[in-house]
Symmetry: C2
Subunit: 238 residues, 2 copies
């Protein structure tokens, strides 16, 4: 028998988990859509439960399709979703990306995705960052939330290795590859990194751009690309 | 007297311009929010008209605030918007980014933003791309739509200079800086570039990544970063 009542406990929990406070209390989160549920499974991250639209043929406890679509935090016609326990890690090297004051969940999720693409070992989230387990961040991560360890930090001291602050135009030009353990710190789009955070870092670097600024996710993506480049002559990069 | 009727011709046009077909017919588009209106002004792109919420103190013909918020294509509390004539350019070098089948407006807008940041001369939009003058693309461009020429193309032959196809794992590793006139082609996230498009390009290159794929905007951002890097030893990049 599919779930047909909005008062069902699981549907109520899914709705509740759209709120950051509820995610904080319960320590759970929702991944919406069959791609994300598949990404969790591929990463070996077991669901607490999976719900699937009754007519979809998708795995999971059956829910009346319109009811399932209505609990979606993303406003699209979700046909499958999973509820998962959050996992928080300690910051770990050798290549950690630390975001500071990045309140946009899309930027947090996209940075997770870049971290996976370029093989970063961890995303550390400083004060003022969006919740990586929120619906928009999870969606933007395209499943990377299930593969890249996320950590919470409140001070630069908690970050592994040498600390490199990415600034708009200050410091050295960013140049890879990184040697040894490194944490690269990226601030919010307009505000950048707080001065005391920059001051606590061993190095400051910038991405050479001709025009306007980059958002946090673009800056993190370019930084990871540069820091993970192969050593040796540039033309021989592979 | 502020505009107080939903039947006002300007409000009706703004609502109509949320549809791609209406933008195609009228050749106009909407930029929502004071940051975008300011970006247009800074770029010397005159509005057909600007509307401002009556209580905002912002420039523009006054509109009853709730009415203005309701015509928003982005669902946020817009207090100012401008209507502009579209400008389409011919593809131009020396550094053109060509998107093919990139249907996500956020990716088109973010690529515009990267083009501005890294000094690309044009964005060429091939078949299947989102409209760069749509509300989400304009918003994601953060005003770059007013600074970076956009062109429509239907074939690789229309692109300036040497054509470099960005592929997931094929061809040479991408290595900058670019010499001479170049068009770099980027496909959609999963599909990539069509085989006949790749075959029509003089060169094929990939971005070395460890894990999953990048979306079109991330790939374009990294490609522009790499192609606009300073020549000379990598460590001396500035």
């Amino acid at each position: 028998m599919p779930i047909t009542s909005t008062h069902n406990d699981k549907l109520k929990e899914v709705r509740r988990l759209a709120r950051r406070s509820a995610r904080g209390e319960g320590g759970r989160f929702v991944a919406e859509g069959e791609d994300l549920v598949a990404a969790a499974e591929a990463a070996g991250w077991p669901p607490v439960y999976v719900l699937g639209a009754a007519d979809s043929g998708l795995q999971g406890e059956e829910v009346e399709p319109e009811l399932l679509a209505r609990v979606s935090g993303l406003g699209s016609g979700t046909r499958q979703l999973g509820v998962y326990e959050q996992r928080w890690s300690a910051p770990r090297g050798p290549l950690c990306v630390a975001l500071w004051g990045v309140g946009d969940p899309g930027n947090v999720g996209t940075t997770l995705r870049s971290a996976l693409a370029f093989g970063a070992t961890c995303i550390a989230l400083g004060p003022g960052c969006a919740d990586p387990f929120g619906p928009k961040a999870v969606r933007a991560s395209m499943g990377a939330i299930f593969s890249v360890p996320v950590a919470r930090v409140s001070s630069v001291d908690e970050l592994p290795g040498e600390r490199l602050a990415l600034a708009a135009r200050a410091g050295e030009p960013l140049a890879g590859p990184a040697h040894g353990e490194l944490s690269v710190l990226v601030g919010a789009e307009r505000a950048g990194l707080p001065a005391d955070v920059v001051a606590a870092c061993e190095r400051v670097a910038h991405i050479a751009i001709a025009g306007d600024s980059l958002n946090a996710a673009m800056a993190a993506t370019v930084a990871l690309y540069e820091l993970t480049r192969e050593p040796g002559p540039r033309m021989a990069r592979s």
